[in-house]
Symmetry: C2
Subunit: 304 residues, 2 copies
Amino acid sequence: MPPLPKYLSGDQSAIDEFINKFDIFLFDCDGVLWSGDHLFPGTVEALELLRSKGKKTVFVTNNSTKSRADYQKKLTAMGIPSNVDEIFASAYSSAIYISRIMKLPAPKNKVFVIGEAGIETELKSEGIEFLGGTDPGLRRDITPEDFKNIADGSMLDENVGIVLAGLDFHINYLKLSLGYAYLARGAKFLATNLDSTLPSNHTFFPGAGSISIPLINMTKQQPIALGKPSQAMMDAIEGKFQFDRKTACMVGDRMDTDIKFGLEGKLGGTLAVLTGVSKKSEWEAEGAPIVPAYYVDKLSDLKG
Amino acid sequence: MPPLPKYLSGDQSAIDEFINKFDIFLFDCDGVLWSGDHLFPGTVEALELLRSKGKKTVFVTNNSTKSRADYQKKLTAMGIPSNVDEIFASAYSSAIYISRIMKLPAPKNKVFVIGEAGIETELKSEGIEFLGGTDPGLRRDITPEDFKNIADGSMLDENVGIVLAGLDFHINYLKLSLGYAYLARGAKFLATNLDSTLPSNHTFFPGAGSISIPLINMTKQQPIALGKPSQAMMDAIEGKFQFDRKTACMVGDRMDTDIKFGLEGKLGGTLAVLTGVSKKSEWEAEGAPIVPAYYVDKLSDLKG
């Protein structure tokens, strides 16, 4: 059994010791810095404190609906100064994986996207051909002709070699049917991330995992996931930022994504915050599989 | 290990012996009588042969998009004579379960439906109040106001006590969000059936299980399923038709729904047909969990 995490809130010397131990802090965003459009009080000050001590801050998000540039705008709008290179999102991670790791030979390397514009932007930035996504032609009811044309293949692009599923606020039966048809014909199955829920407005809505799970259930195939806790994402972050993992700390609200991501990546530390999905009871349970090294009630407690 | 099934195709004396053994035949429809809108040749003649020998025929379907009356129209249009009382569909089975078994006390007994008109028709026939379903007001994109109003509960009906998920060709993010919100507030979780795929046009499309699986994944809760292989459905069929299970034979194409349904219901026999989902290799595999008692290549082989 790993030891219980150290509780930092209200303990200034423990906070100082914690901060001094690391050079780089990887932050999950939703549930840590904000919930939906609600910025947690003290978030900006906590980040500024770390930066004032010379720490590097990186924003790591599984939210695939936004590109890195979109995410920077969100940070800016919320008053969090940042630059685009500090941002690592699952849409970007997916694009990198497709272009630099999978490298499927043309022409059978097109991507059928189930997801929003953020994925499209990052695929474009890596020069990857795709279809689906925000195509208005797919934002409609399925017709009897569609059933026929999907079944006989005439509605399918024979050069699709990959299905990439991320959070799609416009998910529908037609897109699921097309995604399944491509997978049944042998396309590789990727998912930006597998979070079952999306924290928003202090509650939960369907997450990216809700989009891929019908396809998993139909094909009995697991996708390669490019968001936390997938170590493919950690490798990409390390490759980009060139840091010593022992000097890095992952900060997050979810045991099964954020904290697992940090632990499996063998980072120097993990810090849980209680403003999101996971409750203290998760790691206090007998035989809890995932236990963070530290925890605070809320990120702003780091300000002391 | 159960013995391998007896192969009947082309063996007239085995076919005669098989037919003589049973008084009632329960038929799965999609994949047995037809695929999509394509009636398999010889279906009508095979059914007429059984009826001419005084056998009772019952059409048992997990398709929840149609009411019993809709299904009868489909049978009629295909040239299969039938009456509505021979039809047992998962939408009907769900309505019966809600009204006669669950019997939640009013007023907190409304049903939030994710599904098509067939479910609504059967709920109405049992006098069950519901919302959702084919409501055109829910066939649209989710808005920022919806996120807020679902989160604060103002968009929710506080009298919803049940979420019933069936096949919905108009599934969208808004409906999944509402379904999850009701479940998170304690509504009971029912599913018409859990088939991951829907056979159509000689291939597969997303089935009712593709609609409930995101909610299962989000809530970590299994719904009570009212379609095959759920024995709740078998009990309802037996209650209605009053037959001796030993004289009944289940005919179907899927091991994990139809044949399992017959085996777990301890019917006198099970007949697999090879015109649908399952292949012979499924029961021939070492340690196959589900093995039918008989099989034919196609239903019309019973004509001899």
